[in-house]
């Protein structure tokens, strides 16, 4: 409490929302990725004037500020790696308005993503982005990280549903970007620049989101494959047949076996891959499209297909996918969840390369995820207490990143760069590409106070480190 900025900061907040006790500081020192970093203070902001005041103060005293939603980031987005202030926006949930005439939702940053969709459903509308944490994560965090989810295949990701934003810049000025129209080409698209900027360019204080009509029905099928390459072919074949499923999720053999060991639900453990496919639309069309999908998949060479006839049967099929996470951590407790993404045509090759990486580094690696859009989730199961193993894991993850880039893909499909992937940025973007991003950062945040230590590699930071301290 000896620093001047702390005293001034304390003046701004109700004591219940200005936290400096050690247990509180520890509680905001982590997210769902790796590493603990103690901030000096946590502020729980609840309106735009508070955000402006904090940023003006921080800019004046050059104190780092780390915006945070509910801390579900898998890439270190909210970690206060350089100390300073954690700005918790999760308590700010005041506004959640649906305007069914304009088909938009107006939301405060702390609103839970799934609550937006629930509110939209009352009007027969839908907010499609569905990260698996959507019942926990805030829309502010989703916007900052440009989160995706299984429905990304058909509906795209967070950035495809943002029309306008209210943003406080790192210097403490309030701006509005975009608006509430579907079309808008007035000047640079600052809205899209802010979305996915991982809280490094501004703090989002309100968002105008696009809603779409909710499809009246969904249907689910499961397809079992003896080999992985065939499942990849099946995906391409379905997607070029005029049918666009809402989700196509893949489970590899390691994840199938893990689920069966964890809770036997009758999955074929000798199969190399399972695809779960969800179609949505009108009941009549669905019936036809599901029949067609099943035919194509069988033709390509699936060994078995099951189409759910009821909601309960569909839930039963999705249960397999839901059980992957608890099942795989039974082996070892630490889960390194990656989201390197490749062009769809490269899925079989990527899976093959992942197999080689698994053997080369002798690691426990399972692959599942949003195969329909090339966003595989290779997960490495390890034990963070085992330093020797963690070094192998770090090397393997590094190789997964470079492999994805080699195949024309990207470091991250939906989790973000944060701290973990920063060392690999130049490899994907090239020195000039990264430099242009750096110039944008410099223009918005001249004193580098907003979420410093993210996206851009620190001097000498040339490889991934998952170990703490």
């Amino acid at each position: 409490m000896d620093e001047v900025w702390m005293k001034e900061l304390k003046q701004i907040f109700h004591p219940g929302r200005f936290l400096t006790d050690l247990p509180d500081l520890h509680s905001f020192s982590y997210d769902a990725s790796f590493g603990n970093h103690l901030p000096q203070a946590v502020v729980q902001v609840k309106d735009v004037s508070e955000v402006i005041a904090v940023l003006k103060l921080a800019n004046e005293y050059r104190v780092p500020v780390y915006p945070r939603g509910q801390g579900t980031s898998l890439s270190g987005g909210p970690l206060p790696v350089k100390g300073g202030i954690v700005m918790d926006l999760s308590r700010w949930r005041e506004i959640l308005e649906i305007d069914p005439d304009d088909l938009v939702a107006i939301v405060s940053p702390g609103v839970l993503t799934s609550d937006i969709n629930k509110a939209a459903e009352k009007y027969g509308l839908m907010y499609p982005p569905d990260p698996s944490s959507s019942h926990v994560s805030t829309i502010g965090g989703n916007l900052a990280e440009n989160s995706g989810g299984p429905r990304g295949l058909k509906y795209g990701v967070t950035k495809d549903y943002v029309l306008g934003l209210e943003v406080v810049t790192p210097e403490g000025d309030l701006i509005r970007t975009g608006g509430r129209t579907m079309k808008n080409v007035t000047g640079y698209d600052l809205t899209k620049l802010i979305v996915g900027s991982e809280g490094t360019l501004g703090v989002i204080t309100e968002a105008i989101l696009k809603l779409i009509p909710k499809p009246p029905a969904t249907r689910t099928m499961m397809a079992v494959f003896d080999d992985l390459v065939t499942s990849g072919k099946a995906i391409s074949k379905v997607l070029t047949s005029g049918i666009l499923p809402a989700k196509i999720e893949l489970m590899d053999q390691a994840s199938i076996v893990a689920v069966e060991l964890y809770r036997p639900i009758g999955l074929p453990v000798d199969a190399e891959a399972i695809l779960l496919i969800e179609l949505d639309g009108h009941e009549e069309t669905l019936k036809k499209e599901m029949g067609e999908t099943e035919r194509i998949i069988r033709e390509v060479g699936a060994r078995e297909t099951v189409v759910a006839q009821t909601r309960e049967e569909a839930d039963q099929l999705w249960l397999a996918r839901k059980l992957v996470s608890p099942a795989i951590v039974k082996v070892k407790p630490t889960k390194v969840s990656e989201d390197a993404t490749v062009p769809r045509s490269k899925i079989p090759e990527m899976i093959d390369r992942l197999k080689q990486i698994k053997e080369k580094y002798d690691i426990h690696l399972v692959v599942f995820g949003h195969a329909g859009d090339g966003n595989l989730h290779p997960n490495i199961i390890c034990d963070q207490r085992d330093t020797e193993e963690m070094i192998r894991v770090e090397q393997a993850v590094g190789e997964i990143f470079t492999t994805a880039i080699d195949l024309g893909g990207t470091l991250s499909g939906e989790h973000g760069i944060g701290t973990m992937k920063a060392p690999f940025m130049e490899k994907e973007l090239g020195p000039l590409g990264l430099e242009m991003m750096n110039r944008i950062k410099g223009a918005w945040d001249p004193n580098n106070i907003l979420n410093p230590g993210k996206i851009f590699p620190e001097p000498g930071q040339d490889s991934l480190v998952l170990r703490n301290g």
Partner: protein
């Protein structure tokens, strides 16, 4: 450090991948509005403590303010054993935190003398009865004497049920045989709070079981289940109580086959079914505990399994249900209480939003953390009111008292009541169905 890590279940903290899926399920995260009072935050602090990065003071408040409702374990995608981690932390806190002399004396009296003692619990029952009947209650209320009592006990004594006289208490038989055909033999676990403050509900439970075709034995020598001790960090006493109970039931059924050990309190049930995990270092006792656990079931489960009762008197009321956290999240008993409840003719059942969330009673949390508990209760009562129910059904004494308190705080006594499931079932005049009808 090693000893601290073992006690606090340090190994188990690594099961938490900090995904945060527990946050929306946690009532104190909702009411206290910061990560420090979330399951993820608590586990993180416990881990930091086990690694020597924070001292014990950092744990005190977050652990004390945890309800222990275990809603987080039910939603956890990686099966973190939060209950175990929490108990470990409580034990370490209990052992290491300096306490005043008075605190020590009071705790010793309550945990080592009062709860485990049948005589004491009966005395509390008698004393409460005498207090009510003699008019002292009214006098106390009028003069505001009870308001001076510490820990807001005055709010609780106003909602205590009418208690039976000592004579009724003494005259409960040790065995109640079914009048119809015998379909099961059960032992009844009376519980300490249930038997002292809710003696009448215990009597109705025994009656229901007998009507359902069970011979009911009420073993001598049984004692408190030990839940409140375990949740207060007193693992040692809790284990001793477990042994006493196991012994008492073994003795009562020597050589005989017993189908069920029946409980009517969600909190006690949750403790009883965990007896098997208490004796990892004592294989003999572990085996005996597992035998005990295998038969232990909630009254609602037993009624569903026997499936022999017909309710003959319609209860024309709008009814809603508040589940017991320990029954839901530890025993994982979800359907049976609803199934028997809905089988009562005439009732209109309305589901309450968030009925699976803790009511803030949480053992003795509502006494120790009164303000936090009342915040949670007030929120719960908003949801209760939305159902428009006349009758609010619970399955645990703590919840029952808390819901009665909630009704009183909202001044709803005129048009709403809280009851134990067993009370409502008894009102609906249960009759055992003849064997032939059951088979049909």
């Amino acid at each position: 450090m090693k000893d601290r890590q073992k006690k606090i279940h340090y190994e188990k903290t690594f099961d938490c991948v900090q995904c945060g899926y527990c946050l929306p399920a946690c009532p104190t995260y909702e009411s206290m509005k910061k990560e420090t009072h979330s399951p993820r935050g608590r586990i993180h602090l416990i881990k930091q403590f086990a690694e020597g990065k924070v001292d014990i003071e950092a744990l005190q408040e977050p652990i004390d303010k945890c309800l222990g409702c275990n809603a987080c374990s039910t939603v956890c995608p990686t099966n973190v054993q939060y209950g175990k981690i929490l108990e470990g932390a409580k034990q370490v806190l209990d052992e290491q935190k300096p306490k005043t002399k008075i605190q020590k004396v009071v705790e010793k009296l309550i945990f080592e003398q009062v709860f485990p003692s049948k005589a004491w619990m009966n005395t509390i029952g008698h004393a409460s009865w005498f207090y009510q009947k003699s008019g002292l209650q009214t006098l106390g209320r009028m003069t505001g004497l009870t308001k001076a009592a510490p820990l807001h006990l005055e709010q609780f004594e106003q909602i205590l049920p009418d208690l039976p006289s000592p004579v009724e208490r003494m005259h409960r038989p040790k065995v109640v045989k079914t009048a119809g055909q015998r379909r099961a033999k059960v032992g009844f676990f009376t519980g300490c709070i249930m038997d002292s403050l809710f003696f009448g509900i215990n009597a109705k439970t025994i009656d229901l079981l007998a009507r359902a075709g069970a011979d009911v034995v009420i073993p001598d020598g049984q004692t408190c289940c030990g839940a409140l001790h375990a949740h207060s960090g007193k693992q040692g006493i809790s284990k001793e109580l477990a042994k006493k109970n196991i012994k008492a039931f073994e003795k009562a059924f020597e050589g005989e086959d017993v189908d069920y050990i029946v409980i009517n309190a969600g909190g006690c049930g949750a403790r009883l079914i965990e007896y098997g995990e208490l004796f990892e270092d004592e294989p003999d006792w572990q085996e005996r505990a597992e035998g005990f656990v295998a038969r232990t079931k909630d009254i609602s489960e037993v009624l569903v399994e026997l499936d022999t009762l017909t309710f003959t008197k319609p209860v024309k009321e709008v009814v809603t249900y508040q589940s017991s956290c320990h029954m839901l999240n530890v025993q994982h008993v979800v359907e049976p209480p609803l199934r028997v409840l809905k089988s009562i003719p005439g009732i209109v059942y309305r589901e309450m939003e968030g009925s699976e969330r803790c009511c803030g009673s949480a053992g003795i949390y509502n006494i120790l953390q009164f303000d936090e508990s009342m915040k949670i209760l007030d929120h719960k009562m908003d949801k209760v009111k939305m159902t428009g129910a006349h009758t609010l059904v619970t399955t645990n004494p703590g919840c029952l008292l808390q819901m009665k308190l909630g009704i009183k705080r909202e001044c709803l006594e005129e048009r709403m009541r809280a009851v134990h499931l067993v009370e409502l079932l008894s009102e609906a005049r249960p009759l055992g169905r003849p064997e032939s009808e059951k088979d049909r």
